[in-house]
Every structure is written in C-alpha cells, then in structure tokens.
C-alpha cells in the first residue's frame, strides 16, 4: 500500500514541450513526497519520526521541518479545541494528519517556481489545483467526489475556483484510522472540505470526521470552507457551495 499522487499539467505549448514540462514537474513533486516520506514515516524504523517516537531523539534536537510541522499541528489543536491532534491515543507523536497536505503545499510552491500555472495535483484523494484545465477558457478544474457507499461512483462534483484545495477524509478506505472524540462511533463515513489552502482543507476534513456534526458547525462558522459530509446511512450534509445553483 502507499499513497498515490497524480499530476495533470495543462499546457498551451507543443506536445513535446508539454511532455518535458510534465516530466520535470513529476520529478520535482516525486522528490518532495519521497523526501517527506523518509522523514515522517512511522513505518520506516530509521525515519526521524520513528526515532522521535522511540525517544531516541527529542523534538528540540529534531530537524527544522519536524519542529515547524509540530508547531503548526499544535496550533491546529488549539484552533479545533483539541479535535485535531498530532498525538495518538497512546501519546506517540504522529504528524501523519498534516504531512501529506504539507507535501502538497510544498509541491505547489515548486510547480510555481517551475513556471507552471495550470495544473492539478491529486495526493491520495486530496486535490490541489492552480489555474485552469483550459487556460484559454479560464474554466475551473472540476473534481469529482467518490461516493463512500459505492466507491466506483461519484457522489457529486466541486469546481475549484477561489477554493483551490479539496480534501476528503473518511473511514471507508483504510478502516477507522481516525479516532472519534470520546471513542464514539464516527457520525460521518466521509467528509469533503474545500478551502483556499490544502492544509486547512485536510485538517478540517479529518477533524469533522472525528468530531461529528458539532465540529462541522464550528468549522463552517470559523473558517471560510465548503463542506460535504456523508452519514453512514447515506444522508448528506452540504454547505451551499456544494449545492446546484437554483
């Protein structure tokens, strides 16, 4: 198993040039994800995260990236009243909840530095876009959202315009890897959050799955986000951005 990252680049240059562009972009994005995986994987015994978890390394002597991400995760813990946490129930430091979004954020910076303006990055179902799939038309990238009750069908779609990031969390794909607050059964099987940035979208999606309806209401009130949540019986909760214009 692993996280799949796919990158789509829209280009108005010749096909050969577009292929070169894509290949360099893929190299850069792959490098970023591979490097962060080496640092943060708790399934690599030699990773910095594993050494921290075993107590061989203290946070004070950890790398700047590790310290920065821990600080960012701690801020989110405060902002979400503890619903998001970078610690497992047993106390082990686990930054998995933020590192994938961080990698996507870093990849976006690098794609911009390469001069690419129109692309769509999909990291394990979390989507971050720039520009348009047809730069001349300025149409937004359109992301389909998987139906958690039938993973081969789409529940709906979301055009990524001012909100360029769409993250989805749930328990359908990998078992219950999110612990609900107080150990209760999660109220949602899948939560999609669209936001201006991928870290906010990813963290709030995870947090709403963990915290349920109350957390959803708080998140929508506190942050400028759009939410589509699916209950175990298939019932939907959607903010206006996810509804068809009538």
């Amino acid at each position: 198993m692993g996280t799949v990252v796919s990158l789509t680049v829209a280009s108005d240059t010749y096909a050969d040039t577009a292929v070169d562009e894509l290949e360099s972009a893929v190299d850069v994005v792959e490098g970023i994800f591979a490097h962060l995986d080496l640092t943060f994987s708790l399934y690599r015994s030699g990773s910095e995260a594993s050494r921290l978890a075993r107590g061989e390394l203290t946070l004070a002597s950890a790398s700047e990236t590790m310290q920065d991400l821990y600080a960012e995760a701690s801020e989110w813990r405060l902002a979400t009243d503890g619903a998001f946490t970078a610690e497992r129930p047993d106390g082990t430091l686990d930054l998995s909840g933020i590192v994938k979004a961080h990698a996507a954020r870093e990849a976006a910076l690098s794609l911009g530095a390469l001069g690419l303006r129109n692309w769509c990055l999909n990291a394990g179902g979390d989507v971050l876009v720039s520009g348009s799939p047809g730069p001349a038309t300025h149409e937004p990238w359109l992301a389909g959202i998987v139906d958690p009750l039938d993973r081969r069908a789409l529940l709906g779609a979301f055009p990524l315009q001012s909100m360029k990031a769409l993250a989805t969390s749930g328990s359908a794909e990998r078992g219950d890897h999110i612990w609900a607050v107080g150990g209760a059964k999660p109220e949602f099987v899948q939560v999609s959050v669209a936001a201006a940035d991928i870290v906010t979208a990813d963290i709030l999606a995870t947090t709403i799955v963990a915290g349920g309806t109350r957390t959803l209401d708080q998140a929508v009130e506190k942050w400028n986000v759009a939410v589509l949540a699916v209950r175990p019986d298939g019932e939907l909760l959607a903010t206006p951005e996810f509804r068809t214009a009538t």
């Binding site: 198993m1 996280t3 990252v5 789509t8 108005d12 577009a18 399934y43 990238w141 789409l154």
Partner: protein
Amino acid sequence: MRIRAALATALASAGILLAGWQSGAHIADTGTATTTSLSSATTSDKSSTGSTTAATYDGASVQTRFGTVQVQVTIQDGKITEVTALQLTDAERKSAQISSRAAPALRSEVLQAQSASVQTIGGATVTSDAYLTSLQAALDAANF
C-alpha cells in the same frame, strides 16, 4: 453517445505511486515507482511536414454503479480534439437511481457530474491498490 471536448490545450497526466506514511500494513512494499501514463500519441504526432495525424487512446473500462464506462481520446497536433464515450450508461437511468437513494432531495441538490466531465477525483485516502481500480486511474490513463 459522443462528447466533444473543446479543450484548447494539451493535457498531460502522470500517476506517481509512492510509499505512504499513513499506510502501515505492508512494510516490504515501500519502493517508489512511477507510472507515467503519457499517451504515445502526444509524442508521435509532430511531423516535419506540418501535417499531423490524429491518434486515439482508449481509457480503461471502469465499472460504475450504473454500468461500464470507457472513454476514447483523440489527440491531434498535441491537442485533445475529441473525447468519445465508448461505453457510457444513459443519463436517465442514472438520475432515476440517484433519486431512489435514502435522501433523494438532498442528494439531488448536490452538484452532479459524470466521470467523463471531471479532471480529478477526490476521496478518502486512496491507496495504490485502490488507485489501480479507481476512476482517477482511468482519468489519468486518458490524459484528462
């Protein structure tokens, strides 16, 4: 049934299979592999005379709740000129099935899309195993 894609640009797409820090079941399977699903058509259609020939590329068949969906993309001069649905279930049957779901009113209010009209698929963490059978893989293969 035919869908004409009015894309003025060349889209190229690649899937990268990466070891994930969130996945713990298979420690052995942590190698990094890249599957670049560039259509050969996009690299072979430039000819020195200036006249180019169209090349077609078939996406994988994808099973959906509404039947099998498969698309064919025509690429000419480095641009997608046509997207043809080789197999596509009819829209009426689709809406009928959606409206019979548990919460039809709410479900019908959500922005709908057929898989052929989206460029990417969001979902709860997609693993490499799931990716290979996913709609996103079909989209990547078809270079959307």
